[in-house]
Symmetry: C2
Subunit: 191 residues, 2 copies
């Protein structure tokens, strides 16, 4: 009788129910070419395996990302997803329009540390808003939600690094209250 494999684990089940973490209410009238009134509801949920291809497509559809991502079918993405999904200090998020299409994604890492009186930090990485959902205030609302989520989980600080070539992103983060007090230094390792 075959033993169940690790692929049977619920964490990797593409059909598991959505774990909804929150929601955003955007003014639908503020979107370009969006004539109708009212608000659009965006659901924030933990990503599941069936979201993986769409998330990788979002990471690739980016001026800096297009040259450094490979085919979404690459096994390394599934391996990384499994590592993120199994780590209680990692949260890979999707922002869903109509509870279906992925309008945005981001990853939060919670880092316990001794510095600053034993402060927990929330670190935000790999933020992308789908081209179809830009200019509607989603990026700002999503970030405000993530900052609030980090606060709820007990973080004393939210941190991120952003490529110095992304001047618009730096101004966006400064408007949210972030201060560019640090150099973000990277060292690529040989494969």
């Amino acid at each position: 009788m075959p033993m169940p494999t690790s692929h049977d684990h619920a964490a990797n089940d593409p059909n598991r129910p959505r774990e909804v973490l929150g929601s955003l209410h955007l003014d639908a009238g503020s979107g370009p070419g969006n004539g109708h009134q009212g608000t659009q509801e965006i659901t924030i949920a933990r990503a599941r395996r069936s979201d993986l291809e769409e998330i990788v497509a979002l990471l690739t559809d980016d001026v800096l990302g297009k040259d450094r991502e490979s085919d979404a079918a690459d096994a390394r993405y599934l391996e990384a997803f499994t590592a993120i999904d199994g780590d209680p200090n990692q949260v890979l998020l999707v922002a869903l329009a109509d509870e279906r299409a992925i309008a945005a994604t981001a990853q939060i890492t919670f880092i316990p540390g001794l510095s600053r009186g034993g402060a927990l930090r929330g670190q935000i990485e790999a933020v992308r808003v789908a081209a179809s959902h830009r200019g509607q205030g989603l990026g700002r609302a999503f970030f405000e939600w993530m900052i609030d989520y980090c606060t709820q989980r007990g973080a004393a600080m939210v941190q991120l690094t952003t490529d110095k070539r992304r001047q618009d992103a730096i101004r966006f983060y400064e408007r949210l209250g972030f201060v560019a007090s640090h150099e973000g230094m990277k060292l690529a390792l040989p494969h």
Copy 2:
């Protein structure tokens, strides 16, 4: 009959044997006022609870740290230590001279991610070298060891942020091959 509490867990046992992860060999002759020849051996080990007070003292003995750390007896440090120690993606390191005195400390966080082809990153934080052990090449040797350790654990990148006021540190990291390609942005949250 009382149930065992979480404080009985081996991870918090100050008397558990040292988990040695590696060693450094420094040219003892290069230290100021150090007349004798030969090499000094430094042991790299995972920090244990009995190291906590000394590590916090190192974090405090710093031009930027002195105003933001509190009494090492503060319960928040023990809480943070327990969180770090129980997380397989966290490694709190001590570099030991004579297998006893803490000559340096650092924390590495391993962050799985989807970006850059599902790359694992090693993030280094809270690096301090004891005043008594500066100017002997320990900082550089410790960093080279940590970069090698991240490579062994499969990381494709090592990253850190450093306060822009630490100009000497920035040059030190650049000599190790780090590139200041990113802005390190921080947002303090209300307590």
